[in-house]
Symmetry: D3
Subunit: 162 residues, 6 copies
């Protein structure tokens, strides 16, 4: 896939006009995608967020729910994305001293891939972390938002180069 | 603002439960926020996107509209954000050899800041670029999504440390 | 179904984290669900609402349309619900002296049930009645919102115990 | 308020047609509303949900976030409700042996009350509990959804009769 | 207003890029707008729709509710429209032998006009009529969708030339 | 299709009540629909909009994106429309001296037609033109919004009478 010729952008017609490309002829297959990003903040803020592992703190649950709901709204947010019936979405968090890794996996059985759904879930979960911590760390950064892996469709299994 | 004590996260009550904090007592002031991110791809893909400067190519217009509409949906996407009446939103793009800088500025006259609206505009515009180029560059990355500057509210003018 | 062991809640993973469970492996079958609730108010208010049976009064039509549109937004409102393509929705009202029974039936052909769509249709139709009558009866109550019957899926036909 | 003459329903014009009534002439005041409902299930299901008080279980956080987001969508869900800028929303849960009490408080500073926002928050949080437990207790009931108290506006403080 | 010089389009910046123009400096005034359109069909279809004047037919109520809800979503549908808090919306229908006139009036107290809200209400109500009658008259036409009158804002009262 | 007896409207039950009709028994076929409208304005305004053919003007791209996104929201806007997974949408513009023809084509593979999706795309793109030019031409009119052609489903190919 990475050596696909960077010919025309598929979302444009021959006049350069945006359109929702026709996926009616593509095969219905099981498709999955995983995306991730790194939320960079301060060690004391990571500690505040991790307190969510303790009883009664809703920070990560709020970001996770926002990410899942964001995935379901992908075709409403990204103009040329096709609507599709997601069969599952999950959002996870990992920690190191001064950052939080957000990752999401989306699945469907359909004619078009779920890369954008996984990326949108991560972005919205990350923005929710921004919102939660912005009063204590306005300098926080959502970094390195990218596709990690995908399966299904004509090209089959794709994994990001290390 | 950056030296605010990283005490409790304001979006949680004393039991750690998520809530939409009460902004009813805050002053109505003019508020602005600017955010940015960098979309990392390949030089040939930047060239394809820049062809949008030529007649009849809709790539950047599509991402710009998506970003503006995303800003208007911020309180619907980020669970604890307050609804507010945006008085303006703009989204801009700058280029270097292998990346596209996305930036957005949001304004309102109200009781709560527009940082999340500016960040959401940039994120959704960036995700739309991901969607546009993912067939030719699945390795593209949205990097360094951050608040750049804000004005209004109790803390007044804040600019990111260089 | 009622004697299913109340083991773990299926919407949580083994760590207790919320997720949209994977329904990709479930069979595509015809599925229906019916839900109902009782809106308790005063006899004079029931009479006002029933005037809708006469020409030119839109109370029940407004609640019915709200319920149908609510059913279509179920996966947007209930965080862990799967999007699905409803094949039909209907909302009905019955009256006795001081209450209005709201019921709804939803159908789909898919991998996941429509219980939540039927319940959401009834809830939104009932809230619309609340809105309509709240100036004359702020004490009104939406009571007994429940699933009545469902068909399709692995468990087949389920009817509420009398 | 309860002895207001049950004359015409205010959401209908003199021909009985639905309309969004004109609130342009009403005063801008601080307004609050509190609503509640009771989710009836089995003791073993209450125990499963309460495990959410322990680390790593997201049931109540999911329902709370759904309720808060639902409140923000009230005017989109209830056809004749006015859009308004909520200044705060909170959702709480209390338990007894076989039921969960859901309550919500909404606030605004505006020309129209927030009763429907509080009721919608409770309804959507309650529906999310339905969704969470429906596999183990399809017989669960959301009962007694009602307005508890309101302040602000022409009628001032109203409290439900005991 | 009609003799305003057709200089640059205000929704574009000096580079021709779309933006949500800054209305922060505009006065808060009461603003109203009325729009209308004509739905052209056959006499027998008008008769079917008018049967809605009789008990138990929901055609016009459905179109009216759709129009009111559409008005509330204007800023979500039209990319460069500002969000605003509508204080009222009404949708009306008039009939002649083979057409139905749809009209809508929207009001707000704010910094920007409600022309688009009135036009959107009429368009969505008209599309709902299309949907209702398309099985019996696929040739139906929504014609002459236009602004009729507006008040408020810098330009004051404007009425369409006859 | 045009000589179908104008019996009952299919969106009403035998009591005249609105419902989402059951399409569960209809065949899954490829379905397309094309709709169009004419936006009437002044020659100088057409010239301003056509400047979009030159570099750096976003008018038509904005209207096109709005139309595509509007098509995806059809079932959310038109109360009795079924949700469906669009496989493609395109929006086009043609010009003569004082008008702009807007047309849209929608496709799906499913149980129900896409007439309303094509009509909604045209209406929302046309409303966006209204919004863009209303400061220079408040007298502009969206005229002649109609279905042009459809394929698929029980009735097969239908073309509008000339």
């Amino acid at each position: 896939m990475t050596d696909a010729p960077p010919s025309a952008l598929t979302h444009l017609d021959s006049d350069g006009r945006a359109r929702m490309v026709d996926v009616g002829g593509k095969d219905v297959t099981d498709r999955t995608a995983t995306a991730s990003a790194r939320f960079l903040t301060r060690p004391d803020v990571v500690a505040l967020v991790r307190a969510d592992d303790l009883p009664k703190a809703d920070v990560l649950a709020t970001a996770r729910i926002a990410g899942i709901q964001g995935a379901k709204r992908t075709s409403d947010l990204i103009p040329l994305c096709h609507p599709l019936d997601l069969s599952s979405v999950s959002v996870d968090f990992d920690f190191d001293e001064s950052s939080i890794v957000v990752s999401a996996t989306a699945k469907t059985r359909g004619r078009t891939g779920v890369e954008m759904e996984a990326l949108t879930a991560v972005a919205i979960a990350g923005l929710t972390l921004h919102d939660m911590v912005k009063a204590v760390d306005p300098e926080a950064i959502l970094d390195d938002l990218k596709l990690v892996e995908k399966t299904g469709g004509k090209r089959g299994h794709w994994t990001r180069n290390a």
